[in-house]
Subunit: 289 residues, 2 copies
Amino acid sequence: MTKTTVSAPHPLDQALALDPVVVTAHEHGRESTRHWQGRTHPGYMNMVGPFGGITAAQALNAVLQHPELLGEPISFTANFAAALAEGAFRAEARPVRTNRSTQHWTVTLSQTDAQGVESVVLTATAVTAKRRATWSAVDAVMPEVPRPQSIPRVPLIRAVAWPQRYDMRPCAGQVPTEWNGTEADSVTQLWMRDEPPRPLDFCSLTALADVFYPRVWRRRAVMTPVGTVSMTVYFHASADELAATGTDYLLGHARAQSFFNGFFDQSAELWNESGHLLATTHQIVYFKE
Amino acid sequence: MTKTTVSAPHPLDQALALDPVVVTAHEHGRESTRHWQGRTHPGYMNMVGPFGGITAAQALNAVLQHPELLGEPISFTANFAAALAEGAFRAEARPVRTNRSTQHWTVTLSQTDAQGVESVVLTATAVTAKRRATWSAVDAVMPEVPRPQSIPRVPLIRAVAWPQRYDMRPCAGQVPTEWNGTEADSVTQLWMRDEPPRPLDFCSLTALADVFYPRVWRRRAVMTPVGTVSMTVYFHASADELAATGTDYLLGHARAQSFFNGFFDQSAELWNESGHLLATTHQIVYFKE
C-alpha cells in the first residue's frame, strides 16, 4: 500500500478565499465593481470578531483578484467599522480610476444580519501601480537583534485562535507579565512569520502588519479594551522581493507616538532577514481608559 | 469721510467653501450622501494642479459640513487619483456606518471634463468620534529648535502660488540650494502657519500636514518629478486644543523611511508651540527616477 498525502490549503489561504458573486457590473461604462463572498475563518478569530489583520488581508485580496488589476499594491488603508460576526461577508472592490501606471481602488466589506439588514463592516482604499526600477535607498535603520532561531517562541494563549497562526519571537517589549500599571516605553520588536510557514505575499504581509499587541498595554501595563479603527500599509517591495523572502521571519518594530483621549497611534516597520524594509505601517486604535 | 474696512474671508476659507448641490439622497433608507460643489483656488495652485494639502482639506471639509456628523476627526486618508483641473469639482461625503461613538466616512472628489465625462480625482475615508477624557501621554519627543520668531521666513518662489499661503521658518533640512546629487538625510524641521495667520482648525491642520517639500529632493539633491498618491492624518487633539493653539506656529518634523522603485514614504509630526503633538501624518509619494 502506498500512502498518499493530500495537504489541505494553508489556513491563511482558506481565510483569503473569495467566491465571485456577481461577475461584472458596469457603472458609467468604465468602472467594474466586483462582488465576492468571503467568510470569517475560525483559525483567525480574536476575542470579539476576527483578527483585524486577516480582515484587512481579505479586503486587499478582493483588489488583487480583480481581473482589471493594474500592477501591485503601493498603499492600502482599511477602516474597521464594526467587529465582523462569524460567517459570510460580501466584499466589493471597484477600480475608481485607472491611469497609465497607477490605479485607485475602493473596497467595502459588509454583512447582512438575521433581519436581512446589510451593514458596512469595513471600508478600504488601495493604490496599485506598475513599478519601474529607480534609485532606491532605505533611511530607516533595522534594529540589531538576535537571530530568530536563537529566541524562544512566545507562549501561546490557547483561548484565542489567531496568535496560534503566527510564530512570534519577541526581542524587546513583550506583553507585560504583571498588569500592575508600571509605565514603560511603547516599543515592541519581534520576529514573526505564518504558522505553519507560508511563502510571503502582499496579503500575508498585510496581516503581519497587524500582529503587534496594543501599544497602550505595553506602555501602561493596564489591560484596557482596545480596537483598531484605521490601518495603513505602505509597501516598499514588489512581488519579487516578497518571493525572495519566502518563509523567512520578518522583524517587526512597533511604537506609539501619542495616546490622547481614547485613541493612540502605532507606527511599525517590517523587515526581512536580509534587511529589506518590506513595509511601513501605521494605525490608530481606540482605547477605553 | 469715514473709511470702512470690509475684510475678505481668509484665502483658506475661500478655498474650503463648498456649496450644497443635492440636499439629501437616502440610500438603503439609512445613509445620506451629500453632494457639494467646490472649486480650486488660484491662491493654492501648485505647478500641476492645486497643492495636495488644500485638496485634502476640501475633502475633509465635506465630512465636517455634513449635518449627520458625529464627533470630531480621528483619522483621515486621502488618495490623489489625478491632478485637479482648475475650476469646479464635486464632493460627495457619505456616512457609511454610524456607531454609538464613532462614525465611518467615504468621500469622493470628481470633475467633469469638456466632453461631459466625470472622473474621480480623489478618494478619501475618515473616522470621526466623540472623544472621552482618558489617560493620555505623548511618546514622541518634540525636537529642540529655536523659537519661530528667531528664524527668518523661507524665501518665496513667486512662480508657485501655494507656498505664499504659508509662513515657513525652517530649522533643519531646507530645500537644497544646489541640485548637485549630494546625498543627505531625509529630515526637515520647520515652523509653519497660515499666511496671513488664521486660527487653527482640523482643515488647516490637514493642509499643513502636506507642506513638506518632497523627501527625495532633500535626500538626493536631485529635482525629480514627484506626486503624493496617498496621505493619512491621525489627529491627537480635539477642537479645544486646536482653538488653544490659535494662530501660533506649528513645528513640523518630517522624514522618509524607504525610497523604493518609484515610491517613497514620509512620516511627520505636527507640534504646537506649547508642546502638544496635534497630529501625526504619513504619505507615500511617487517619484520618477
